[in-house]
């Protein structure tokens, strides 16, 4: 399987077509600029690049509800993902068009001694702000690469990002409200709504222990600036180590409940097979499902793009990122022989166990022709990435070992 080759072929073909037209004296024809689209390496994978408010041009997945994916090349820019490139994903079409941060309120209700309605200023006054660097990854990131393909947002690998979040632990807020005995879960929701009364609202839930672990937090800043509107301004829930589906934008309501929440987006949607690999044979039906929760271990090469030409015998720097759900990355290795031999990379600065961990190594192309470079990571629990993609009906949590092909000349 060589997806990156395909992609490269496509790009070259587009380029050659452009050249052909120019050579034929037809260059006056309005050629679509290369910058206008980005082609993902799967069928029907060409996306328009469109600039949304506070965002640089990103891949348009859907206009309504807004869903934008970051071109993968941006990961080269650094271990923290720029705010103006960070992916955007809404579930409901009726999103706010204007938010006054001074008037926004977060309601806390349910099994609490004292229901609250907190302004941003109230939140900031609850204690010293905390900072955490954490990966936010869409549950369906890389869905376009699962085989057989499944319906849903057809995403490449750019629906994830790593940012430094500043805010207050959710624990502080719940302590202020006074969680009562019998509390089992909290439900969370934001300002985005459905248009039809019959459509289930986007409400997520998780156990009270996770809410009180001191790491789950309510953030008002992202990489030192206000959170971009489309990423959840003015406050966003941060659930380190968990998939983005729990990171509610424009957070407005928290309810403490005494049972397992059975709303649509927990009970029916965002579910994976209830087994260790969260997978079943491709195309089959699962017996039992459970809500998707924590991130799986992944790693990527970011310094090379598939299809690049490299000089034989010329040592070159390779660089990339790895992450898991918080156990911490312990090793990253690369292979250029289909996984028979693996060469250890050096891990970069540790920005925290929920952050992208940079890695780098020097690699020397030893043989001419097409070379498939692979990268895999291991965490402190010994967890590794599967060689081939594991399948589930939602196309969630893809984490196979990544391969890119380069040409050694």
């Amino acid at each position: 399987m060589n997806l990156h080759d395909e992609k490269n072929k496509l790009q070259r073909r587009q380029f050659l077509q452009g050249m052909g037209l120019a050579a034929a004296g037809l260059a006056f024809a309005p050629l679509r600029s290369q910058a206008d689209t980005e082609t993902l390496a799967f069928g029907n994978g060409t996306r328009e690049l469109i600039a949304y408010p506070q965002k640089r041009p990103l891949m348009l997945v859907t206009a309504r509800p807004p869903h934008l994916e970051m071109p993968f090349a941006v990961f080269k820019e650094g271990v923290l993902t720029p705010n103006d490139a960070f992916f955007v994903r809404y579930h409901m079409p009726n999103i706010p068009a204007s938010i006054d941060a001074g008037l926004h309120r977060l309601k806390v209700s349910g099994l609490v001694d004292k229901p609250l309605s907190l302004s941003l200023k109230d939140l900031q006054g609850l204690g010293d702000p905390v900072e955490i660097v954490a990966v936010n990854q869409c549950s369906g990131n890389s869905r376009g690469f699962v085989s057989p393909r499944v319906f849903g947002a057809q995403l490449g690998n750019g629906s994830m990002g790593n940012a430094r979040w500043t805010g207050i632990p959710l624990k502080k807020v719940l302590e202020q409200a006074g969680v009562q005995a019998g509390a089992k879960q909290v439900t969370v929701r934001g300002l985005d709504h459905a248009v039809l009364p019959a459509t289930p609202e986007f409400v997520k839930a998780f156990d009270i222990d996770l809410a009180l672990n001191g790491e789950t937090m309510i953030a008002w800043a992202m990489n030192g600036a206000d959170i971009p509107f489309l990423n959840g301004y003015p406050i966003k829930l941060i659930v380190p180590g968990y998939f983005g589906t729990y990171w509610v934008k424009h957070l407005s309501e928290i309810e403490v409940i005494g049972h397992d929440f059975d709303g649509f987006f927990m009970k029916t949607a965002y579910r994976v097979p209830d087994n260790d690999c969260q997978c079943i044979p491709a195309g089959s039906n699962p017996d039992k499902m459970r809500p998707i929760t924590q991130l799986k271990i992944r790693s990527f090469i970011t310094s090379l793009r598939g299809g690049e030409s490299l000089a034989l015998g010329n040592p070159m720097a390779l660089q990339g990122i790895a992450f898991d759900s918080g156990a911490g990355i312990s090793a990253v290795e690369i292979s250029d022989d289909g996984g028979q031999h693996w060469q250890a990379a050096t891990l970069g600065e540790d920005l925290g166990k929920y952050s992208f961990r940079e890695w780098r190594t020097t690699w020397k192309p030893q043989s001419k022709g097409k070379v498939a470079l692979q990268v895999r990571a291991r965490n402190r629990l010994g967890e590794e990435q599967p060689a081939a993609g594991l399948w589930n009906p939602g196309g969630y949590a893809h984490n196979a070992i990544e391969t890119i092909s380069v040409f050694v000349v």
Binding site: T62, D100, L196, D226, L230
Partner: protein, 268 residues
């Protein structure tokens, strides 16, 4: 370096006659990262969360004597409670045209909740059974106002137009009547309900679309209001009240359009 960029941005904005940043409260802290706005894409206004003038503004005030800059930052400092407002780019992808009956239904029903790109970018080669199951999910899980028969028609259209497969609708009668006539229309309330009008419009307040009172007010002195509104309902469109498009309702008959248009202008 960062400060230089900020100055450049401010200078640029100051001398653009239509500079949108000058409109309302902004937080100078954020200008450096507003690549989108700088490149001239949709307008965005950043309010200050915290009271008082920001460091960046102070720096500019100290460092520059240009009246324009002083005015700019003073403006920013007095307009602190402005909301952050966004304007989204227009939708560009349209449903693939087709002669099949499912096309008219899809135009009318799918667009209530999502843009057509959601369909356009699905994997190639999905079968009619798969497409139909997906439309069924829209009906059962998301409450789309479509009947079981309509699910099959839309599924057939999607398979034919997006997977290159001929439509093979079996087990139901060929579609011969416009949707709105499947049930005899009793009154405008049924029309409103059947076409999910009230999902996006309310009498007195803006929802996704404008309120009926606002529409009535705009057309109160227009002798052609009825004809215009009937046409707008039939053809849909965007730009009259913002960029969120209203789906067309091509299946509505002239008398039904008239009845709905009359209902709307009646709120003046």
């Amino acid at each position: 370096m960062k400060r230089l960029n900020l100055f450049k941005i401010l200078i640029g904005k100051l001398f653009q006659p239509n500079a949108k940043y000058r409109r309302s409260g902004m937080d100078c802290r954020n200008l450096g990262s507003m690549d989108g706005g700088v490149r001239g894409i949709p307008a965005i206004w950043i309010p200050a969360i915290h009271a008082g003038m920001t460091d960046s503004c102070n720096l500019i005030l100290i460092g520059l004597k240009t009246v324009g800059f002083v005015a700019l930052c003073a403006f920013a400092s007095v307009a602190l409670s402005e909301p952050l407002t966004i304007k989204l780019p227009a939708e560009t992808v349209k449903l693939r045209p087709s002669d099949t009956p499912g096309y008219a239904l899809a135009l009318q029903k799918c667009a209530i909740c999502h843009s057509a790109d959601y369909i356009e970018y699905q994997p190639p080669g999905m079968s009619e059974a798969q497409w139909t199951a997906e439309v069924g999910k829209m009906q059962h899980a998301y409450g789309a106002p479509i009947t079981d028969d309509e699910v099959k028609l839309i599924g057939a259209y999607l398979a034919a137009s997006y997977s290159g497969k001929p439509a093979q609708v079996t087990g139901i009668q060929p579609y011969t009547q416009p949707l709105a006539t499947i049930t005899p229309i009793a009154d405008v309330r049924v029309l409103l309900d059947q076409n999910a009008c009230l999902s996006c419009h309310a009498i007195d307040k803006k929802l996704v679309g404008p309120s009926y009172r606002d529409i009535a007010a705009r057309y109160k002195d227009d002798p052609k209001a009825m004809d215009k509104l009937a046409e707008f309902i039939a053809k849909g469109g965007s730009g009259r009240w913002g960029d969120i498009p209203m789906p067309p309702f091509p299946a509505l008959k002239p008398e039904e359009l008239k009845s709905l248009a009359g209902f709307v202008v009646g709120w003046k």
